[in-house]
Point group: C2
Chain length 424, copies 2
């Protein structure tokens, strides 16, 4: 195999013809495969299903003297706040433990900013003519959907291998309409990038024009190593506190990919002043989140150390899948010099950059051959990838054999689309 660009047109045409025949064969099989969603597999769910029985009788339902079956404890039970504090390397007073979804906590914080204002807001955002939000790209589609849902103007920020382009960010925050930024600081979605120490240092020293600028620090993959050992990551809150900017940071995490997706527990961690501010509004919203499930998680996960051991079990299922994806790309695509991709050590995705202008074509070819991928452009604000290049591969859900078949189809589609492009 040689780089496609180095082939003669005739060679390219011959290669395309061979691939089209192979594609037709695959299509004829009528497969139904899915690499679209960052969903844990059934095998992973089975690993954690003992959680169902950790609370099995009334006497189990006490967190100290607190009966978790009854009302109360707006900010979460003490032991659950302590568990997340342990995992995030912060303190319980800075942690609110919520319901089953950190996405809901994020949406609700933005919603509160619109209806009530954040701690330092001169006015609720709903009263403003314009709200702009920074969106590192490629990024997490659901972050962008939250912002879009509220009618914000989404500003794409280029990602570098060290995190968001901080020159760009530092300049953008001079605009007082720019009210915040979405971040996945460890194993960014989809690139799997870990923000560097310098990036973090520049974050905590940001001087935004908006006094209520909000860094949405979605630490979704804080303990989600897939290949290799746990990588420690700094506690943003203590660093920011030292820099005098702690009120700017809202950190989120959940157990969605630790225990049960959508039936886990979530948290928001922030300065004590922010927690107090949010608590006041939360007091009108809810009496308490599901404390039985909080205690169930505390008894099952115990502490950070034990949780990291559990994550090793998840990695034993996920690791081979990531390796299968990377192996296929290394073997089938690398020699052709038509695409690039990241090699993440954690998170849930492999971010793939097809030849510019071909991602949509790859998606369509794959779909017609029975392979569903994440929508092209989903990783960009408004669903528009200006380069039509990025494809998010989600290896977690399909069984390993299906995943290998899926990657075979994917590679054929990537090649066909590239050759079509080269042949014009």
């Amino acid at each position: 195999m040689k780089p496609y660009a180095s082939l003669t047109k005739d060679e390219q045409r011959a290669e395309l013809k061979a691939l089209q025949e192979k594609y037709a064969e695959i299509k004829a099989k009528g497969l139904s495969l899915n690499m679209a969603r960052g969903k844990p597999s059934s095998e992973q769910l089975d690993i954690v299903s003992d959680m169902l029985t950790v609370l099995s009788k009334a006497d189990d339902c006490y967190d100290g003297k607190l009966d978790v079956r009854n009302y109360g404890e707006l900010l979460g039970i003490p032991s659950a706040r302590a568990l997340f504090a342990d995992i995030l390397d912060t303190v319980p007073e800075k942690v609110i433990v919520g319901g089953s979804a950190s996405l809901q906590l994020m949406f609700d914080l933005i919603s509160k900013a619109y209806t009530h204002g954040l701690l330092h807001s001169p006015a609720p955002w709903a009263k403003l003519d314009k709200v702009k939000f920074l969106c590192p790209v490629p990024g997490y589609d659901r972050h962008f959907t939250v912002s879009a849902s509220f009618g914000m103007e989404l500003i794409p920020v280029p990602m570098t291998e060290f995190g968001p382009d901080m020159d760009f960010v530092e300049n953008a925050v001079k605009d007082p309409d720019v009210k915040g930024i979405w971040c996945v600081p460890k194993y960014s979605n989809p690139d799997g990038i870990i923000y560097s120490a310098e990036t973090i240092d520049r974050f905590i020293h940001l001087k935004p024009a908006a006094p209520d600028f909000a860094v949405m620090w979605d630490n979704a993959y804080c303990i989600h190593e897939v290949i290799g050992d746990y990588v420690p990551f700094p506690d943003i809150l203590s660093l920011a506190a030292a820099a005098g900017t702690e009120d700017m940071f809202y950190e989120f995490a959940s157990t969605s990919k630790v225990t049960f997706p959508g039936a886990g527990i979530s948290c928001m961690a922030s300065s004590v002043a922010n927690i107090e501010h949010v608590k006041k509004i939360l007091n009108a919203q809810i009496i308490s989140f599901d404390k039985v499930n909080q205690l169930r998680h505390v008894k099952f996960l115990k502490n950070k150390e034990n949780t990291l051991a559990l994550m090793k079990k998840h990695a034993s299922v996920l690791g081979p899948k990531f390796t299968a994806v990377l192996d296929a790309l290394d073997k089938e695509i690398a020699p052709l010099d038509i695409a690039t991709w990241r090699r993440p050590k954690g998170g849930y995705f492999v971010s793939f950059y097809a030849m510019p202008g071909t991602a949509r074509r790859v998606f369509t070819l794959a779909k017609e051959a029975g392979l569903v991928m994440t929508n092209v452009g989903a990783t960009y604000p408004y669903g528009k990838d200006p380069d039509d290049s990025n494809l998010r591969i989600a290896p977690s859900y399909p069984p390993l054999d299906d995943l290998k078949k899926a990657m075979e189809i994917f590679c054929v589609c990537v090649k066909i689309a590239a050759l079509e492009k080269l042949l014009g």
Copy 2:
């Protein structure tokens, strides 16, 4: 015992002196009793604690073919939507099953009205200069707190024994700034009134000036009989549909006082058009609510019939407590002609009307004698009862013996406050 007003001043003074001595004796005991909160008792929680084990292994976690441990089903699992539809006498398509708190669903609907607008909103409410909301009084403090939190103007609506004063309501909704009303249609909080057929008929034929007028139909006590058999109550959605006003109604219910308070499941039921509208916004907010807990409830509660049987067990604990409260009032207060109270057959409260101008005094006296009551005024917007009369008695949480002691203190305080008032 004779009516206090019929006593001579000297007789009143002698009675007051005797009561003050009794009060001093009680105070000396240093009691700590609480009739403030509509919390189920530990005994009730124990009745439902078998729910902890209905899902105990991976194979239990399927709703048909759906693995509830994983992501998906934004509007709730089919069987949970069907369960609430059964309980509320509506259809699953009109039901969204949420997380552990119906209060959160209510807050969020109001929040969405502010940020996105309801289905028929000309503009999000945050864009309006003024939003007014009707608050039947006495009513549920947390409803009023939601409205107040968003800066609405709260308009008290007198309650009658048939529900809100509909003459008042029909007139008030002519104001286009009036955007909705809070209702607890069955066993209203705190009065325990069941809205009459005529009241409901006038509700479904309301013609508000605001096209997005929202009736917040909080059916919190839909199956919560305390004394006597289940009282059927009409399905507001089908009645409203027949009247062409279904989009005006948002019905809420939860299992907070069926299974575990704060760890149950909740629902919002409304027209299919409203559900579709809310679903679009919800899609940005959450991937799915806790479906494991939804399935746990379905397996434990099964259907309406079985749930009603469970409610009988709750009533076997609650009934004697309500009876103890009413017996004490009948014996100690009724002959004195200084107060009135409701005799609810369901719900969680006994609504007590002390001699006007004495409720605060009763509260303070009780507090100083070691008995915590719901804050005076809590049942009115902004916490202000213009008559300083209503006190909400919550008999559910204390054990029966404590409750009897609490009522003894309460009656002494009511008498003292009345005599003080009469003596000027």
